[in-house]
Symmetry: C2
Subunit: 248 residues, 2 copies
Amino acid sequence: MGPEFMTYCVGLQLNHGIVFMSDTRTNAGVDNISVFKKMFTWEKPGERVLTLMTAGNLATTQSVVSLLDERSKVPEERNPSILEVPSMFQVATLVGRTLREAIMSATETGQTAEANFSASIIIGGQIRGGAPRLFLVYPEGNFVEASQDTPFFQSGETKYGRPILVRAYDPDMSFSEAIKLLMVSFDSTIKANLSVGLPLDVQIYEKDSLKRGMEKRIEAEDPYFQLVSKGWGEALKSAFSSIPDPEL
Amino acid sequence: MGPEFMTYCVGLQLNHGIVFMSDTRTNAGVDNISVFKKMFTWEKPGERVLTLMTAGNLATTQSVVSLLDERSKVPEERNPSILEVPSMFQVATLVGRTLREAIMSATETGQTAEANFSASIIIGGQIRGGAPRLFLVYPEGNFVEASQDTPFFQSGETKYGRPILVRAYDPDMSFSEAIKLLMVSFDSTIKANLSVGLPLDVQIYEKDSLKRGMEKRIEAEDPYFQLVSKGWGEALKSAFSSIPDPEL
């Protein structure tokens, strides 16, 4: 089936915009690990910015990205371009349809269960005239949108990094705080699951800017990541000490 | 197949002894939830104390406990008694064999995959002449023992509650601190997975006491659990604030 992403990626909707973070590790067994980008951006400055993150089978997700990309160069009626469809809702619909198509086409040989080629996608961004929107697209091609009640989406190895997101997320947080939050969430995940690893990709989309925001690749030796990783262990221990012990 | 435990349980080996905590919720769908005990103790005061926690299919785990219990009353050569075998290693072997037997016997009808009847067990305690020992028994009947490197076992819905265990566990901690740690870990799990829920059962085994230690059922309205649950959210937020934001 080809390598799978043992991914962790998160899209965080804020009042100021959207922050995306993904790891870059993929493996086909722990002795066969490579770095692959899982974050992709399409942009028409002043008109739209779309950022997509993938989790799941690498062949499937690469195929989705290639199909979206090729069709943005030669759009046709049956396959409209991600750079042309008029709304974020239609972007999500298009991504869902393309994902479904890629999974079906991989499964066509009938040799293997669909689940093995499965993948999911987080896509967010803004098109002029609309608000920034963030979607989680399922392998079946359907999707859900982030809302006030569910203001972020995780994909892949989601559980270890979830408690801190649930507790510390605030829609008013700055991009800087949001990146710190994501780093803590990724650090907890990386500490627990060997197959999620640095480097990480991070990207910011600033509301109504309609242009690609700051992007950065965070390498293992990144001093701020190391500060968070080390500092968070200490901070958790003092948080733990700050709660009184029970009387037995 | 009958209800499954949507369990979370943890056994924590300390220098002072062992602490056990388990939830008590079981369901066969979110509209069919009951409370079942998942923690069981066999004791010969002054000679041995054994505490067992179950995760997985309820019919399977109840069958294991019943078999162990019946055979402790009428032991035979083929089925020795959990109250008679001479070492903790043999206790784990016996529990593993009984678990395997229960799963095989449920699968015998051949109608359903073995996985549906699966279960795992954490068992710990002490037998006079030996040290306190803690084991995780797999559905296949084999088992691993806790050690300095892996001083605790989780079973069931393990991921949400793992980061705090990894960060704050210390083999020297008191029973009181250990219970606080487990409550934080359970609170993170309960907040994330509806199907894990209060009440919780907690039990302490004090090294070399060779008698059952403090036991308690923690109900939803338990004031200390509420203090931990509320306090931990606040403590996490201040821990998070204590780390400097990155410069963008």
